[in-house]
Amino acid sequence: MTQSLLEIDKLSVTFQLPNGPVTAVKDVSFSIAEGETLALVGESGSGKSVTSTAAMRLLPELAETTGAIRFNGENLLEVTPKRMRRVRGNDISMIFQEPMTSLNPLHRIGRQIGEVLIRHKQLKGKANRQRVLELLNQVGIPEPERRIDSYPYELSGGQRQRVMIAMALAGEPKLLIADEPTTALDVTVQAQILELLKSLQAKYGMAILFITHDLSIVRHFADHVAVMRYGEVVESGRTLDVFDNPQHDYTRMLLDAIPRGRKEPAPADSPVLLSGQDVKVRFALKKRLFGKNEYFEAVRGIDLSIRRGQTLGIVGESGSGKSTLGRALLRLLKSEGEIRFEEADISGLDKSGMRPLRSRLQVVFQDPFGSLSPRMTVGDIISEGLKVHHPELNRRQREAEVIAALEEVALDPSMRNRYPHEFSGGQRQRIAIARALILKPELLLLDEPTSALDRSVQVRVIDLLRDLQKKHGLTYLFISHDLSVVRALSDDVLVMKEGRVIEQGSTEMIFSQPKEAYTQALLKAAFLESEAA
């Protein structure tokens, strides 16, 4: 390795929490040479963000840091706070995961970028503004002259991240720390931001420390990679070497944690279970006393049908209306148009009319933290549906059902008297699945059921869903922005954008021969691996 720019040497970080010390980072060592990119990879809780934040010395005071962080030979853990402030934003810059909240909402973006120039380049007045315009131009903000005076709320998430990048570039740093810079963004925007970082790196010759959980990005982006788990680096090396020949079990597991395989198609003659015709959903934005109310049309007339045993994947970016459509089909939201379940029109049914059907149409939501009531035990949560649909069961019978359901989702039934907050994200998602399954539904609406989970957990939940479908002949309405998951689970795919279906067809067709430019962009941005395995 050439002259190293940043050298992290046996770094340990311990948080002195009220309940005792917690070591988040243990003896971590790696180094980055000038102009190269190192990806720090790990799942949630692996300590990757703590490591990078420690390099900027931005950790809260209750963190105890030992070891050394050498930047150009200078140990940053030992320099004065004043010296450290000269390093921050000037020698090392940082961009964060949360573009929506990382900019000061009360200041114009030009001022926020210009602040760095005043601080580190003594650039004031006209020259400052001129440089800010240049930077905005470089990060691809359209109409910089106008945008320079915008407030953050006037920009989209992708644009805000560009502003963050402009701010980071303002000091012309030698090292840029990017902490999950694309995670909160839609896939197509993600790809643009990565592209931008790459081109800027080529231009400025800066090194990048790239923190991510997403291995597909690493392969396309980083020269070197360090894999972290439980606060330790388990494996590091050149990206190609590590990917082609992983040494550590954990790395291998991560690399393998990609949803694979295809769904066996449902029999061609199986009957249509659920269909929708010209389904529309609109939300009132503004109610006026006189004149027309203003509406936002989330779903603008969609036709679809699912046959028994089939999985229909609904793909789209945030705001495409995919979740709204799913809720409308299950009559959880008011909608226009016709919805049929087993030939019967259910779009006119009221709450009590829908109730008998509820046990047959179930749902699993995205957020494993929000979808379970924090005040109920897991057993109570799972058995709630039984109380509605099978009031004849006594407590003991219900409990037996709960145990069976928990076993079905591979959770230890003895945990049924515990509360949701005592479980991990993946376990909670299993609980949510058990709550739906206990009613023996025919159709399951899966609304991004794996999006909030770590990749390795994701894969297991997907396997579980696949097994359950096979075992019970379930029909899935699968909503996701994650194309690799959709590909592994669906028979047919429906691509949504701005409330409309822009393309639909069999999974095979959509993935191999996308017709619409938007679908093509989505697929390209997702870095889907060609299925070698």
Partner: protein
């Protein structure tokens, strides 16, 4: 994927540790028997946090002590509420005659009167807070749950109530209904519910959008059950916090009314009445002001500390 006998072995847990869900999860021999260990509910969790907060626990202890003393004290003291000691008019604190904290200008034992006054002040606080709790929770929950136009009108009404001078309203209510201690409860409660209603409505609106409420709808759970089983238990944290902050407010209000001569009437007394008497005698008998003031301030102090502690213990953001 690596070979795994149990899919949940690798997943990390937050919160309290679970029994190791290793390759062979412990299985109860007869699962139908209630052998499953109980988990730690959020309430228990909150209590644990609260009990680690020394200031809050000290306040709680002191508060309980004040309450117990106010209830039990008058029975143990030799003097009655309106009993006049003809040998001691306006004497300072002394051990003689068992006037430990002195007497007032009419020769009545101050400690006895302060404890009796404490009973009144504390019971006013308790009942009025309860009244405001009931009105506020019902009003707020209905407004938030129904939403839309009803919510609009109901909250508009609250806004209008806010534009009425608060003191005027209390005074007027008391004038209308006469000066009866129970009506003081009601009057104060009837005015203090506005903040509670707003808080509960905000909670309800936020909860309504949560996915577990949607999941309950998807299960076909009835509206009434959704309110009682999902909404209310989950809104209870902020409500408890707010109640602990309402109690000191109400005590203050009652003593303020009493101070103005609008509160409880002779022979009954309350801390506010005693403070008002103390102000008149401030120069010649300062203890008459200090003793009830200290009781009042100490109670308010403890309640506020406890409220702060509860907020820290219950607020999910601190976890």
């Amino acid at each position: 994927m690596t070979t795994e006998s149990t899919p949940y072995s690798g997943e990390q847990t937050h919160g309290a540790p679970l029994p190791a869900g290793g390759p062979n999860p412990p299985k109860a021999p007869d699962p139908a028997i209630e052998g499953a260990p109980a988990g730690e509910s959020l309430a228990k969790d909150a209590w644990r946090r609260l009990s680690q907060n020394r200031a809050a626990m000290l306040s709680l202890g002191l508060l309980i002590a004040i309450i117990v003393v106010c209830i039990v004290g008058p029975w143990l003291l030799p003097w009655g509420l309106a009993e006049v000691d003809w040998n001691a008019f306006g004497t300072g604190p002394t051990l003689e005659n068992a006037h430990y904290l002195g007497t007032d200008a009419n020769g009545r034992d101050l400690l006895t009167r302060v404890l009796y006054g404490g009973r009144v002040s504390l019971s006013v606080a308790l009942v009025a807070s309860f009244v405001s709790l009931v009105i506020g929770v019902l009003y707020g929950a209905i407004s938030g749950y129904l939403g839309g136009r009803v919510d609009n009108y109901m909250m508009r009404f609250v806004d209008i109530m806010y534009s009425l001078p608060f003191m005027f309203l209390v005074i007027l209510l008391m004038v209308v209904f006469g000066r009866n201690i129970f009506l003081i409860y009601a009057a104060i409660g009837a005015v203090e519910w506005l903040d509670m209603a707003r808080i509960v409505r905000g909670q309800t609106l936020a909860l309504k959008r949560r996915e577990f409420i949607e999941a309950a709808h998807a299960l076909g759970v009835r509206d009434t059950k959704i309110v009682t089983r999902h909404l209310i238990p989950n809104a209870i944290g902020p409500v408890i916090i707010y109640v602990t902050l309402t109690v000191p407010k109400v005590i203050l209000l009652e003593s303020f009314l009493s101070f103005l001569g609008l509160g409880v009437q002779e022979p009954l007394t309350s801390w506010g009445v005693l403070i008002s008497e103390g102000v008149d005698m401030m120069e010649s008998a300062p203890w008459m002001l200090l003793v009830p003031s200290i009781f009042l301030a100490l109670t308010l102090f403890c309640l506020n500390f406890l409220g702060d502690g509860l907020r820290d213990a219950l607020d999910p953001r601190t976890r």
